[in-house]
């Protein structure tokens, strides 16, 4: 697809979509949203880029190797954070009992490891969407 209007609008609008997705992910524990919704918005921005610029440009921007690392790294990060609870004397994914920093309710940095876990989920969901779409439309 070689359309100047579509390409220009995409170039203008993709950073705002990505900022919105990151905002939803980082505020997942104090406002509506969270890892899954924010990751879906992030993945949709990259799908829009692929639709207007083509698969080869998108593969140059975000190769399959990088999305694979994000996809595996997100879930490994989640499991490691869960195992921290076991090593510090609690159960799997125990948060307040083993002394994570709780902070004041309503701040961005609060709630123990919930922001870290939400960031991992967001990365995993976004890279899964991108990998799914690239795998379907790629010519074989």
């Amino acid at each position: 697809m070689d359309n100047l209007i579509v390409k220009t609008i995409t170039r203008l609008i993709v950073p705002f979509i990505q900022i919105y997705g990151i905002f939803i992910i980082l505020h997942g524990h104090i406002s509506p949203g969270g890892g899954f919704s924010g990751g879906a918005v992030l993945g949709a921005s990259m799908i829009l880029y692929t639709l207007s610029y083509g698969l080869t440009a998108a593969n140059k921007k975000l190769p399959h190797k990088v999305t694979g690392v994000f996809e595996s790294g997100g879930i490994i990060w989640y499991v490691l954070l869960g195992l921290v609870g076991i090593f510090l004397g609690g159960s799997f994914l125990s948060n307040k009992e083993v002394g994570f920093f709780m902070g004041k309710a309503g701040d961005v940095i609060s709630g123990g490891f919930i922001p870290l876990i939400t960031a991992a989920i967001g990365l995993k969901v976004a890279s899964t969407m991108i990998t799914l779409f690239h795998t379907i439309i790629e010519e074989d």
């Binding site: 509506p32 969270g34 919704s37 918005v41 949709a44 969407m129 779409f133």
Partner: protein, 79 residues
């Protein structure tokens, strides 16, 4: 607000029946997109904004794109 709710639910039912009755698969996907968008507005009216966010991103955005790309790989009209 009550009236808007009723109108949206009736539109939802009409969309769900139309998806099943349509022979052209691309039209069916677009009607399904309208169904998802109406469902997102309804979740917002039911005071579940996080579900509405997810429905608008996944149901109306990504699912439609995946369906359209799959249809472009196969036949468009169901036999």
């Amino acid at each position: 607000m009550e009236l808007l709710n009723v109108i949206l639910v009736v539109f939802l039912i009409v969309c769900a029946i139309a998806v099943e009755r349509t022979k052209d698969l691309l039209s069916a996907v677009i009607i399904f997109d309208a169904y998802s968008l109406t469902m997102a507005v309804l979740w917002l009216l039911l005071k579940a904004p996080d579900i509405a966010l997810t429905e608008a991103a996944i149901g109306a955005g990504v699912t439609t794109i995946l369906f359209v790309s799959v249809i472009s790989r196969t036949r468009r009209v169901k036999k």
